[in-house]
Symmetry: none
Subunit: 219 residues, 4 copies
Amino acid sequence: MTGPIVDGGDPGAAAAEERGLPRSARGRRTRQAVITAARAVFERDGFLDARISDITEEAGVASGSFYTYFDSKEAVFAAVVEEVQDQMLHPHLAAMDRETDIVAAIEANNRAYLMEYKRNAKLMALFEQVAQIDDDFRTMRRNRGYAFAERSARTIRRLQEEGRADPELDPMVAALAIGGMVGRMAYSVYVLGQKVPFEKLVQTLTRLWVNALQLRVDP
Amino acid sequence: MTGPIVDGGDPGAAAAEERGLPRSARGRRTRQAVITAARAVFERDGFLDARISDITEEAGVASGSFYTYFDSKEAVFAAVVEEVQDQMLHPHLAAMDRETDIVAAIEANNRAYLMEYKRNAKLMALFEQVAQIDDDFRTMRRNRGYAFAERSARTIRRLQEEGRADPELDPMVAALAIGGMVGRMAYSVYVLGQKVPFEKLVQTLTRLWVNALQLRVDP
Amino acid sequence: MTGPIVDGGDPGAAAAEERGLPRSARGRRTRQAVITAARAVFERDGFLDARISDITEEAGVASGSFYTYFDSKEAVFAAVVEEVQDQMLHPHLAAMDRETDIVAAIEANNRAYLMEYKRNAKLMALFEQVAQIDDDFRTMRRNRGYAFAERSARTIRRLQEEGRADPELDPMVAALAIGGMVGRMAYSVYVLGQKVPFEKLVQTLTRLWVNALQLRVDP
Amino acid sequence: MTGPIVDGGDPGAAAAEERGLPRSARGRRTRQAVITAARAVFERDGFLDARISDITEEAGVASGSFYTYFDSKEAVFAAVVEEVQDQMLHPHLAAMDRETDIVAAIEANNRAYLMEYKRNAKLMALFEQVAQIDDDFRTMRRNRGYAFAERSARTIRRLQEEGRADPELDPMVAALAIGGMVGRMAYSVYVLGQKVPFEKLVQTLTRLWVNALQLRVDP
DNA sequence: CATGAATGAGCCTTCATTCAT
DNA sequence: GATGAATGAAGGCTCATTCAT
């Protein structure tokens, strides 16, 4: 194990990890092929069981070419992550104005999140694995999770001030807990294979969420 | 990676995995030393980074002696798990009679769970890691989780029938979700290091839990 | 390139470089076989062209066994050096009392040195090569050379005081220079293959030496 | 390792080793840039640790361009050597007529030699290293050394005939030995770092030299 | 049973050299 | 000619597993 997978707090600067971006178009193509292959191999075999040679074989390049662009398996993984940033999902409570139908908003939120999660289940499983293996990725992920939780917490606080949410709750802890609940259910169902129909999942999580915060639709 | 870590659904039969229990007292002592050392090394270095030789060194036995008792790293891990079965915690809703103060029961439940989790944080981190690495352990753990969830689900169903819990909720999905919420918060706080004071954690989770199920203390 | 070949100033402590001395007799035998093989391979192929696998093959052991005893090629080399310490020759002027026939003593000295050098020519060539490749060995060797030169310098100083040697000469510089002259001639003849008959070599060097210091047999 | 570095006895024909001299001005410039860079890198990192890519990087050209002009690292080294032929120093006794003040001539000789050696210490260290690594360069160097020694030997013989030098000495062996003495001292001081002030070095070596040959200023 | 050395498969990594653009 | 990416042979090193003592 070598360098950090990602720069903890600054997801955009992951490039520092790599051996230099290609100058030629051909180089860009090869680098991309390696990243794409890496993702496929990681999703197929897991991070641990993926060998560099599997990746280069999948990419159709010589084994040495890997090192033209990356220092280590961690480094390609970072590049893969950079590509799928947006798919590093975190359930959260969007900001909302007074007119929004909160319940509908939460349901829409959950539906979108779960749909994406399901669609990217392999990737999600990969993230879960790497978070248990690589400290840097774990940290990056945790930081992102906190950022999302903070946004949710702000919304909760506002709802409390408006008398529309249980005032006894600590907003940040509640946000983390509820986000965690949704996230883990997605994992249980779409990674571990717990059988729950999609709609029932959406409905139940939404209801639990609304209940948990004691949300009132209108002030 | 070789044999399965545990026999999925039957936690008691894990011994089948090992090379036969020692008959002599000396043998029993050596085997025990290896297991104890394995736990220490796993907690210290993680499952992945632990080498067989680290374990035997920690145990103060020759490296070859390992194979007198175990086939693989997975096999010792199974033995470690067998020893700490009771510490494979799962948050759940205990069965309760009509007279029980539900809120107090849930709070006591959470408090006990979180305390144990905190006390065994290293072990919990280990379990989390191995679950991402070894399919058999993952399955075993999932099965245990389901078993606990089923118990909770039964309680929820009864509370619904008694009009003391939100009748709209699917009991099993709700049980899984709420259990997941508590479990993941414990992980966030005691493994990832998210700073939340113990009491606030207990109170918030309990309240979220009570709210989520819309529990009413008395029918 | 990894660790230092030898501990610069303390030639006896080279063992620190190795991975642990064998506890069993068998281990000692294997370690010895590796060292012996290493010497043979080094003398045959040179340090640079010697592969670890050549050494283990020559020793008749598995490639991995090398690492049971040594960390690197440098480390075995250090072990080889330790074994042949005494053969790290340095020409020098032995201490001598007033009665000694100085010229005869120098001749005997040179004869012995050149004989040993010739006998160990392959080893000498190896030392010469490694000194150009490895800083630590180079330093160790230089230090030994200085130590020998200092002894010679002391003798020269005494001879000067007794009026038996050119008083104009700086004893240490002269010692280094004359030692270097003899050492390099040995190298030229027995490593580079410059053709000079043994006796002529002994006689000429002795005479040059005696002349250079303007030695007088009797005070 | 591939082709010979130099053509043993014929230092002028080294060009044969290269891929053909460039005709265009651009080509000539590139080739020169590579040679200059190679020298810098060799002096900085040593021959062994210098990678082709280090050289091209230093030269500011593409790695592939190297092979337009040279076949191998040995080949550029040969080109570097060709450029600094004159700096392949060898201490020697210049031819001299009867009127020359021999001692003054030797001193001037030594001074010039040591000055140049000091100025080119990095290059000298490089030569010393490569001589231990590459047979062809070693041979070339030895041949040059012999040629210089032969010249010195001729002078010694004449001095012997004139009764101005020790008639007992074999001229060639003496020439080699004394040349070696001076050469090695220069190495000790300016490469290995043995601390000797420049003037003391010149004086001591000159005196040793004069003594060794038993030179008499006037017949 | 215990010991600890021996084994060798397996994967990583470097870098000289080639070659398409 | 110049470029710089692609290639793959070559060797290093680790460590799970075996086995003679």
